[in-house]
Structures are given as C-alpha cells and as structure tokens.
Amino acid sequence: MSQEIGREIKVRIKRFSREKGSWWQEYPVKVDKYTQMTEVLKRIKEEQDPTLAYRASCHMSVCGSCGMKINGAPKLACRTIALDEVSRTGSNTIEVEPMDGYEVLKDLVVDLDDFYERMYKVTPRLKPSQEVLEGKAQHRLTPEDQSRLWKFAQCIWCGLCVSACPAVKTDEQFLGPAAHAKGYRFLSDPRDTISNERAKVLIDSAWRCTYCYMCYEVCPRDIEPVEAIKLTRTFTDKFGPTGEASKLGERHSKAVEESIAESGMLQGGKVYLKTYGLVNSLISMMELMKDGKATKLIMEKQKKVKGLDELKKLLGERQ
C-alpha cells in the first residue's frame, strides 16, 4: 500500500459561528492508510486554519470527545480512518458535520448539556448498602453477573446514540439509548440498593423506544443500548407499569407472546384488541375505513401452525 502514502484527499467541513452563521469549507489534506479523522482535523487546524473548532482528546475511543457525522454517518473521528471513508463512499471528498440533535456552538463542537442531563436522571453510579459503606460487609458480584453487565458499563458518554435516535427527537419522555444502557446496568446490578427508584425512572421510558437499532449501529463501544432497553422492559412485571406506555406496552407484548403460543402466528387484529380493548379498536377501524383499509384487518384469517406441540416445547413449556 506504499502508493497510498501522501495521497491527497479533500475534506469538506460544515462550519458554524454565531457571527457568520453556517457555511461549507473545503481543505486539501495529505493522508496515508493510517490517518485517523482526528489527525486530519489536527492537520487542518495546525497547518491551514486555526479558526476550525472541534473536540478530540485521547484518539483511542476512550474519552468520547470526537463524535461527529462523517459522510452522513454518526462516528467517532478517532475510530475513522480517512481512506476507509474514501473507499466506503467512492468519493475523494469526505464530508464532516457536527452531530445531529444538539445545538452547535462552533463548527464541530456541540452543546452536550442535554445528553449529560439524560445521564444524570438515571443516577449513573452504584448505591451500595449502608453495611458496605461502613465496611461491615463486602460487595459480591458473581462472574455471571459481571459478564452480563460488562457490556452496558462501557459507555464513554460520546452522545452519538442520542444524536441518531429518532424517538428522542419526537418524545420528551424518552430518556434515550445511552441513559438506558447506563440505567439498566445499575437496575440489574445485585449490589445496588435503589432499584425501586431506578424502576420509576426507567420502565415507562423503555416502552418509548422504537427498536430501530440505530443506537446498536452507531455505538463505537458495541454496547447495543437497544438490548438494555429490551431487558429493562422485562422488569415491568416485577415493579409494575409506571405510566401509560408501560401499561399498554406490557399488555401488547404479553398478547404477542400468547398469540404465538396459541397459534404459532402473530394475529395482529387479536393483539390490537387485547392491547387497546374493544371500544378503542372499533374507533381505529372506523378511521381506517376512510382509506378502504379496514376490511383486510377485520377479515384477517391466518393459518394455525400444525406443529404446535413442538413449538410449545421450543417456547419452554414443560412436556
């Protein structure tokens, strides 16, 4: 790959300042196959334009400072190799923008206060028992529990998942992916003592996630926050629903499970009826009639799986 040393690419950066507003600016930069995007930005700032503002510190995916959009994808600049981007898009020009969803302060620097507030809402620290604090007892964590929680403890607070999350943008009551990953990590930690308080904050919000897997896709630490949200929902039974979304959601999710166990199929109409009740279901049907769409839902007749006994065994029912 020696021919790649000193290859010139173009970097198009979305600039912003309060005085001038927003504009695009292009810089030529020489890179090789090891050049990270943080290095690209450093070279631009040091060699061409000291007015460019961006955040970066550790250059090794630990500090969580350099979240931004690179060719439309929310990424850590330090984990992104410039020439990989060139081959991903087939273009010699790399576009760099600030993360979506936060107020831009200058160029690539965004205001992360909203993100931090979300994290503080879930009390992102362990609350051990009094005995442990007084040195009269020890914290115990089994290797199984540790390996279960490990993934969700790896968050570096970079804000990428929240910037990419569609539910955060349309629902103020949804805490967002990072806070849920952190929240679940403590909610299900056997050493923690405030699970009732945690449940009140986390459970209803968990039912406001739309399972789009954007957070799973963009997380640079492979935390899979959506999995933490799914696991948090399973605590609804234990602590009880804490709002309308968890009340309906738990009912809906149970109805899905029952439908599959009864027939091997997801009977959409039946599930809707069980979730919303007869009156609300009828109102929805009437509305759909305007587009001529209700008939198929009412007439829905699905097959029943023949191998139901086998299916029940697979679903864990004792023979």
Partner: protein, 290 residues
C-alpha cells in the same frame, strides 16, 4: 432458481397484497418460491426480550426446515422477519450461554440447525441473484415520470454487522430497483429512520409522529409516492396512514407501495391484481401510467 419462501404473518394476513405481488413478480422472473412448510411466527420483534431462548429456538425451527429443503436461503418480504431470523442465527452462533439453553429446548424435536441456512430479503435476492438485466427486461409498462421516494426503514439495514447487504447510512438497493422500472428514485434524509410501527403497542402517538416524519420527508422532496421494503412499514405507512393524516390535519396523501407491488405494476399487472391502495392508484392515474 428455487428458493425457500417465508411470507411472515402480516403478508399472510392483514397485508396479503405483499405476498400476492411478491409471488407474481417471482413468477415473471422465473424464480420458484417454495413456501416453508408449516412455518411459524418469527416473534414479531417482541418475543426476544420476553423469552430470548424461545425466540432463537422458534426461528431455528423455520431455518431447520429450510435446510431440510436442501437450500440455504430463505427469502422473506418482511424486514422484521428478516431481522428476527438473522439475529436469532447470529445470537445462536455468538452467545454460548444462550446456545446451551436453545439446544436444551430443541432436543427431542425435529429442529436440527447446522448454521448454513439464513434469511434473505427479497430485495437483496432480486438485485444480487436475479440481477438487474432480467428485471429490466421484464418491464412492460415503464413508470416514466414517476418520482418515487425510497424508504428503507430500520431492520433491513441495522445492525449492519448482521444484515450486511449494504451501507446502512447510504443504502441504495431500493433506488437501484426503482431505476429499473423507469421511475425516478428520490432519496430523503428520513429514508433510514423508523416508521414508528414498533411503538404502536405502547405509544401510538409517538409511533404516528414517526410515520409523519417519513411521509413529510417524502413530500418535501416532491415524491409522488414512496416505496418501502417491509410488511410492518406497510401497516404503518399504508394501512394506518389515514390516522397520521387525521392527527396532523393533513390535506395530502403519500401513498406507500411495497417494493414488489411497484415492480408488478411495471411488469404490466393491473393495480387490482396486486391490490394497490386507492391513493396509489389515484397517483398512477394522474401520472398517466394506468
């Protein structure tokens, strides 16, 4: 070409037009779709959290039937079914603890999964295995002058380490398909956002707001209609669209058409033959296509 076919519950029930159109398109293209015998639901995107091992086990039941058919690909028109089967196969291979529990459950049943069969999206199969040339030559009614917003949604793209067909931030499969019909594909910023369907069981208003984002996104780029790849997007953006219009007081429609419905129209089928919605028919009439 013989492929195992998994329509999924929705295309088998309330969005049967997806199954109808997919079968017609496959027939024209010489693809033999052999329905997986006695298949079961994939879990609908919810079972995996309530019963992780059960979710994997029932998806492996379908994939094991596919292996018995002597094929490796199970095509489905539904992104959620695709996601569910691929995630199940992925977790079975990656997560040793989960695999132990799944193996306990499948013991003594007919389920035998070697790890070879996996789910594929019908759009992937059409583009990669059938190929653009064959699709193009089947077009009898070019959809000239029609601007089609390409809406990919979520589960066909993400997580890309498991789905893997295309760049999840710059997908182009639907644009490629639309181009073959003679229509003009248009991309828009919300094309990889969620339609909101998975919220309809817990937060309907939130779900409808997300659906509005998609419709509005397509409207803002002056699309005549939008094309999508998923049975559940179909329920949300086509069947339920009137509820979005009522909630936001809209006086316009953005018909949502399933990928193979659009192909079928270009192949010369009538809108009635593929059960196209009345709003979509209206658009095709205005454009002089039908």
């Amino acid at each position: 070409m013989k492929l195992a076919y998994y329509p999924g519950c929705t295309a088998h029930g309330s969005a049967v037009e997806i199954d109808v159109a997919t079968r017609k398109v496959a027939e024209v293209l010489g693809v033999e779709l052999q329905e997986v015998e006695d298949w079961n639901c994939c879990g609908g995107g919810f079972l995996d959290e309530r019963d992780p091992a059960g979710h994997v086990a029932i998806n492996l039941r379908n994939l094991s039937k596919v292996e018995k058919m002597g094929v490796k690909k199970m095509v489905t028109p539904c992104s959620v079914c695709l996601h569910s089967h691929r995630m199940a196969a992925h977790k079975y291979k990656e997560n040793a603890l989960l695999r132990e529990e799944v193996d306990r459950r499948i013991q003594g049943t007919e389920v035998k999964y070697s790890g070879e069969a996996d789910a594929e999206h019908i759009v992937w199969t059409l583009l990669r295995d059938v190929g653009p040339e064959r699709i193009k030559s089947a077009v009898k009614r070019p959809l000239m002058g029609l601007k089609v917003a390409t809406y990919y949604g979520c589960q066909m793209l993400r997580p890309s380490e498991v789905m893997g067909f295309e760049d999840p931030h710059r997908p182009k499969s639907l644009a490629d398909l639309v181009s073959l019909t003679g229509a003009t594909p248009v991309s828009f910023p919300a094309m990889t956002s969620c339609c909101g369907f998975p919220l309809m069981g817990s937060n309907e208003k939130g779900g409808l707001r997300l659906a509005y984002n998609i419709m509005k996104g397509a409207k803002d780029v002056n699309a005549d209609l939008l094309v999508h790849p998923c049975s559940l997007c179909h329920l949300q953006l086509d069947v339920t669209q009137v509820r979005v219009r009522d909630m936001f007081g809209l006086n316009w429609t953005m018909p949502a058409v399933y990928a193979t419905q659009l192909l079928a129209i270009a192949f010369g089928f009538s809108p009635e033959e593929v059960q196209l919605g009345k709003n979509a028919i209206e658009v095709l009439r205005q454009k002089g296509i039908i």
